[in-house]
């Protein structure tokens, strides 16, 4: 049953060192505030999984939270590389990062299989592809009806799923709309879950077949307005594209990265404090203040 609590308490209580952690969001609703709190609390040795690791994963990897990453596309969308991710993969800084690389179709199926309580998913994919040579998790099986060879991939069943959503009601029922990605599957596949939301309301007033996570499948609901920034929350604020392009310069060198993280994340107490810290540097950057 969802507890409505602070993000600090939720991360302290629900995420342990060494956990298998899915922070999901497909461009939309990326849980930045929760990622920062993981960094702030110096979680270590995490096995991270995300279809599209971007800046928040660059930050967690660069700050030494991760030992491995399961993913299907890692980059700064529309901008270029993730420098901290590449530094970890190419030069082992600040620590080696073991990769389990898969495709979007694979991970989407694998989350759905996890949510379905199955140990694996079946899909048509990976034919002629080099990924199975480097990821022993990708296997094949034979259809017992047609004899066709199909790909068999292990479910994703994380210890903790972390997502951001538009709103929750006072009982902790969560509503997500717009690009919903794999967030529902991630929460249902995980043992525990943290959902940050833009606001907590008296009633969700959701349309009939809306994407709802009932309070009894969520561990903690935390009200963190703008908690997806620089990503966006449909109905609340747009994507801060400038932040994404600025990040390229900040993260390119280890020193500038560490200085930025120390100043804005490690030296701040929560996401609101982080936002104040950021806006003090960039008073004109109205969009991300």
């Amino acid at each position: 049953m969802a507890e409505i609590t602070t993000l600090r308490e939720a991360v302290a209580k629900l995420i342990g060192d060494g956990d298998y952690v899915a922070c999901e969001g497909f461009t939309h609703l990326i849980p930045f505030a929760a990622g920062h709190e993981i960094i702030r609390q110096e979680k270590r040795n995490l096995a991270l999984v995300r279809m599209t690791p971007d800046i928040i994963h660059d930050q967690m990897i660069g700050m030494g939270c991760a030992r491995e990453l399961t993913f299907s596309w890692g980059g700064n969308p529309g901008v270029g590389s993730l420098h901290r991710f590449r530094d970890a993969v190419e030069r082992g800084w600040p620590a080696p990062l073991k990769l389990y690389e898969r495709s979007h179709a694979d991970l989407a199926n694998a989350y759905a299989a996890g949510a379905s309580g199955l140990p694996f998913a079946v899909m048509r994919g990976y034919v002629g592809n080099d990924l199975p040579k480097h990821n022993p998790q990708i296997k094949t099986l034979i259809c017992p009806f047609t004899g066709e060879t199909l790909a068999a991939v292990p479910s994703v069943r994380p210890d903790v799923a972390v997502i951001h959503a538009q709103k929750a009601d006072r009982k902790g029922n969560v509503l997500i709309y717009g690009i919903v990605g794999v967030q529902k599957e991630a929460v249902l596949a995980a043992k525990r879950s943290i959902v940050t939301v833009e606001e907590i309301v008296a009633s969700l007033d959701a349309p009939r077949n809306a994407t709802i996570l009932p309070n009894w499948v969520v561990s903690a609901v935390c009200c963190v307005p703008r908690g997806a920034r620089p990503s966006y929350a449909e109905g609340y604020y747009g994507r801060d594209n400038k932040f994404y392009s600025d990040w390229d310069e900040i993260a390119r060198e280890r020193e500038t990265f560490l200085a930025w993280m120390t100043r804005h994340v490690m030296s701040t107490t929560d996401f609101a404090d982080y936002e104040r810290s950021l806006s003090a540097v960039q008073p004109k950057q109205v969009s991300h203040g």
Binding site: F26, T27, G78, V89, E90, A108, G128, L131, I179, E185
Partner: protein
């Protein structure tokens, strides 16, 4: 001739957009494919169905998305489904006519690398990885690929096959049991390449205005075959160019920075 001037990238995008027909169902990659697809929608193919892997079906963005899941895609879509549903029911389900991909590297059989340059475990350059491309390349009815033509991108041998084209040629795709027909056109800033009818090796079939055969051959890392009947890509029309530029200008204004 009072042809308007245009860049090689504009010619590439326009040439790519012309291959898309009205009412086709097109699974769109971000970047160059997205610009070409939306240009087609805004010119000769108003009822083209654009699908992005973020789950947006029948989307009609007024500006180009920077990322595959921009709010603009969601707000203008006929419907938005979950990502598992997108890959299961819509792509693997065989509902896609055209998969439209970009690439970092390509080989003579239109196989694609977007994973690593150099060895996988000790890469020289770590690229973003597979994303949705492997299964788009496998399951879409056919595939268009758009990328700039250079000897570093058009290579003799890929360091990594991320998404299959025609494998090692001939009927290799069919033998491998891949459902889709694979790449039927590669559109570059120099011209258009298509697979040979039997060997499935890419050959140059059209040159953009002002580009020579030798330039195209020089920008290819393997010995490029040239079709017996080499065509000349018609230059951009005024409407195509104005529509594309207006799209980029709207995009730049909306994103508060330089256009993609």
């Amino acid at each position: 001739m009072a042809e308007p001037t245009y860049t090689a990238d504009e010619m590439m995008t326009i040439a790519a957009s012309r291959l898309l027909q009205n009412r086709m169902v097109c699974f769109v990659g971000i970047g160059l494919p997205s610009a070409a697809s939306n240009l087609a929608r805004l010119t000769h193919a108003p009822e083209i169905v654009l699908i992005y892997e973020s789950g947006t079906i029948g989307t009609k963005p007024d500006v180009l998305p920077l990322s595959i899941g921009d709010g603009e895609l969601s707000a203008t879509a006929d419907t938005v489904v979950s990502v598992p549903e997108m890959f299961r029911y819509w792509l693997q389900g065989g509902r896609i006519d055209i998969g439209f991909l970009g690439a970092a590297q390509i080989d003579r059989f239109a196989n694609i690398n977007t994973t690593v340059i150099g060895p996988y475990d000790k890469p020289k350059v770590r690229l973003p990885g597979a994303g949705g491309a492997p299964e788009i390349a496998g399951s879409a009815g056919e595939v268009f690929i758009v990328l700039r033509q250079t000897a570093r991108a058009f290579v003799e041998k890929l360091d990594f096959i991320t998404s299959v084209g025609h494998l090692d040629g001939g009927d290799a795709r069919k033998r491998a049991g891949l459902p889709g027909k694979g790449p039927s056109a590669v559109i570059t800033d120099l011209g258009i390449l298509k697979p040979h009818s039997t060997t499935r090796e890419l050959e140059l079939v059209s040159l953009h205005p002002g580009v020579t055969k030798e330039q195209a051959i020089g920008a290819t890392g393997w010995k490029l075959n040239v079709a017996a009947r080499l065509e000349a890509t018609p230059p951009p029309t005024k409407i195509e160019l104005e529509t594309l530029r207006a799209l980029h200008a709207r995009t730049a204004r909306a994103h508060g920075s330089a256009a993609a």
